[in-house]
């Protein structure tokens, strides 16, 4: 089976500083792949480069087709989707307008999926006339997710979808990610919450200083001493305890 997304030798520079160095990464169809790394490791930079938000060197193919020179919009058209770290919602527009614009690439053909999205996120349905900028942090995350799903991407890249969410909602987000895989959507997941990410992912990469230092199936990573020490150590134990309390 050929990879849906195949990136090799991806290098991104901010001026003279190489924030991402010679990264290779593959996502198979219907696979959830996670990218772990400390703050400043280059995860956001990597996703931005894959989406065309930042210029990058290296080769990127999507569904066998080179996309390295395509604009953001053209990559969206090809089936890539990104929920960026800062969400980039249309803050002065309503929840419903945000969602409709998520399906912009289908033009007016897209009618039914709004109801589907409200079924998935009932909270958004209650707030459909509210301005996106006035939503709570968690509601904003849901809207970002729902808006991206409206575009029916074949590969959805999520940059820290659980940022600032209560543990219960984190579990909800991870369930949504898993259900995406069941629908055949591939997911590239960047997470600080390594335990939750590895639990849902099939495969993982660990970034450090802009380079891949470790990769493997998530079961293997979960057991890897370095990962346990760095990402699943004290902090993760705390989160685990919190989750246990909340559950």
């Amino acid at each position: 089976m050929s990879a849906l997304l195949d990136a090799s030798g991806v290098t991104v520079c901010y001026g003279k500083i190489e924030a991402v160095r010679d990264v290779g990464l593959r996502v198979e169809p219907g696979q959830v792949v996670t990218v772990l790394g400390a703050n400043g490791a280059g995860k956001t930079t990597l996703l931005s480069a894959l989406m065309g938000v930042l210029p990058a060197r290296g080769a990127v193919t999507f569904d066998g087709r080179p996309i390295g020179r395509l604009s953001i919009e053209a990559r969206v058209g090809a089936g890539l989707g990104l929920i960026p770290e800062r969400r980039e919602l249309f803050s002065t527009m309503t929840v419903e307008d945000n969602l409709r614009l998520g399906a912009f690439r289908f033009g007016r053909r897209e009618r039914g999926s709004l109801d589907g999205m409200f079924a998935l996120f009932p909270r958004l349905k209650e707030r459909r006339r509210q301005l996106a900028g006035t939503l709570s942090g968690g509601e904003r995350q849901m809207l970002a997710m729902a808006r991206a799903l409206m575009g029916r991407p074949r590969l959805l890249m999520l940059d820290e979808p659980s940022l600032g969410l209560a543990p219960l909602i984190v579990a909800e987000v991870m369930r949504t990610v898993a259900s995406l895989r069941d629908q055949g959507v591939s997911v590239l997941l960047v997470e600080q919450n390594a335990r939750a990410a590895l639990r849902v992912a099939d495969y993982g990469y660990v970034l450090d200083g802009g380079a891949v230092v470790l990769e493997g199936p998530s079961r293997v990573l979960e057991a890897d001493a370095r990962v346990v020490e760095t990402y699943l150590g004290v902090l993760a134990a705390e989160t685990g305890a919190q989750e246990a309390r909340a559950g």
Binding site: S71, L82, P84, E88, D97, L101, G102, R147, G151
Partner: protein
């Protein structure tokens, strides 16, 4: 030098005079036009008129307000299009005034029975936009997108040019207006493709410099195509409707009605259509919009076309009231700009209301001190800027 300050759109006085000599039909410069209303462009700035204060009775007051509102309607149209273009593309569209002049002069050419020079300009701009679009899309061109670009940049202008050939010498006012709008509107899109799209990532300041360049270039082309003479067109309606102490002209009713229609149209466009919302989304969050597949080039092209359409329509509406020269549009555009600035270049209702205010200020200042009319109008911006800067809080850089 362009946009000489003494070329004035001396509407209020012309209309005061019109009351005395009604009904009046517009024509070429020098036709039976009250001498005070139109200053020929090569005469020196006129002496200030009589210094003795004139008494203002309530009829004159009403009349001035009426004139102010009618002029304000035109400024409102221009201010709205400037706000649209600025919020979507960050471009301050100085060449908007040229679209006004092109609209007026193109219609005047049809009325006079010759083919307007803007037809050639449309074909040339279309060809230039074709090259620019090919260059911009060189990595992603396929047969379909190539066809779409050729249709938009080559076939469309050719079809419009063809239409100007098949209509009779003097096509009549309605057909002339439709053809004028068809000729000027796509120029907005082509101008964007040629001059602004390559600067998509440039700063507001660089875009402003590009705007000054476009303004100068289009003014020069206007001189080439239309010559230095001014033109007028007949009013859309000769009717004079008495209303209490006032006489309302059919022309001013047309102006108000069409302005209202445009405002309603814009409201519908942004409020109800997906593509209108996509433009708004681009204005609110450019990266967010791109991640939804909304291309800034598409948004820019569309907002520039809307601006050119509104500009041409404004030109068509003012052309019966004042003589339009190839560079008159600049001054009209500038007044729309004053209104847009008062609205903070962001608020549509704010800009529209400010435009009416600008129109009224202009009407009163041209009655009391007509030589200083423009000065007074443009000085109105100073207290607004002061007020804005006093009350403004540091804007967080959110995008």
């Amino acid at each position: 030098m362009t946009g000489a300050p003494w070329i004035s759109v001396a509407l209020p006085l012309s209309r005061l005079a019109a009351l005395a000599t009604l009904p009046r039909r517009g024509g070429k410069v020098g036709a039976a036009v009250p001498s005070k209303t139109i200053r020929t462009r090569h005469s020196a700035p006129p002496e200030p008129t009589s210094r003795t204060p004139r008494p203002v009775d309530s009829t004159i007051l009403l009349l001035l307000v009426q004139d102010g509102v009618v002029n304000g309607a035109i400024y409102a149209l221009i201010a709205l299009s400037l706000v649209l273009v600025f919020t979507v593309t960050r471009v301050i569209l100085i060449p908007q005034g040229e679209f006004v002049a092109y609209g007026a002069l193109t219609l005047a050419a049809f009325e006079a029975g010759h083919r307007p020079g803007t037809v050639g300009l449309l074909l040339a701009l279309g060809a230039a936009a074709f090259v620019a679009d090919l260059a911009a899309g060189r990595h992603t061109l396929d047969a379909r997108s190539l066809g779409a670009i050729a249709l938009r940049d080559l076939v469309l202008p050719a079809a419009i040019a063809g239409a100007t050939l098949v209509v009779p010498e003097k096509p009549g006012l309605l057909v002339g207006i439709l053809l004028t709008l068809a000729i000027v509107t796509p120029m907005g899109a082509y101008l964007h493709a040629v001059a602004y799209r390559p600067l998509e990532h440039a700063s507001v300041l660089v875009l402003l410099v590009a705007s000054v360049g476009c303004h100068l270039a289009l003014t020069g082309l206007g001189l080439v195509f239309f010559g230095a003479e001014g033109s007028r067109t007949p009013p859309l309606s000769d009717a004079m409707i008495p209303a209490g102490p006032l006489v309302v002209s059919g022309q001013s009713l047309w102006m108000l009605a069409l302005t209202a229609a445009i405002i309603l149209g814009l409201w519908t466009f942004f409020g109800l259509t997906l593509i209108g919302k996509a433009l708004m989304a681009t204005a609110v969050n450019r990266l967010g919009a791109r991640l939804m597949g909304i291309a800034p080039s598409m948004a820019g092209r569309l907002s520039f076309s809307v601006a050119a359409f509104i500009g041409a329509l404004s030109g068509i509406l003012v052309a019966p009231l004042t003589t339009i020269y190839y560079d008159t549009g600049f001054l009209i555009g500038l007044k729309g700009f004053v209104a847009a600035i008062i609205g903070g270049l962001a608020s549509y209702p704010g800009a529209a209301l400010a435009a009416v205010l600008v129109g009224i200020i202009e009407a009163f200042s041209s009655f009391h001190a007509s030589a200083f009319k423009e000065v007074i109008v443009f000085m109105a911006i100073i207290p607004v800027l002061l007020w804005r800067s006093l009350r403004s809080h540091p804007v967080e850089d959110d995008e």
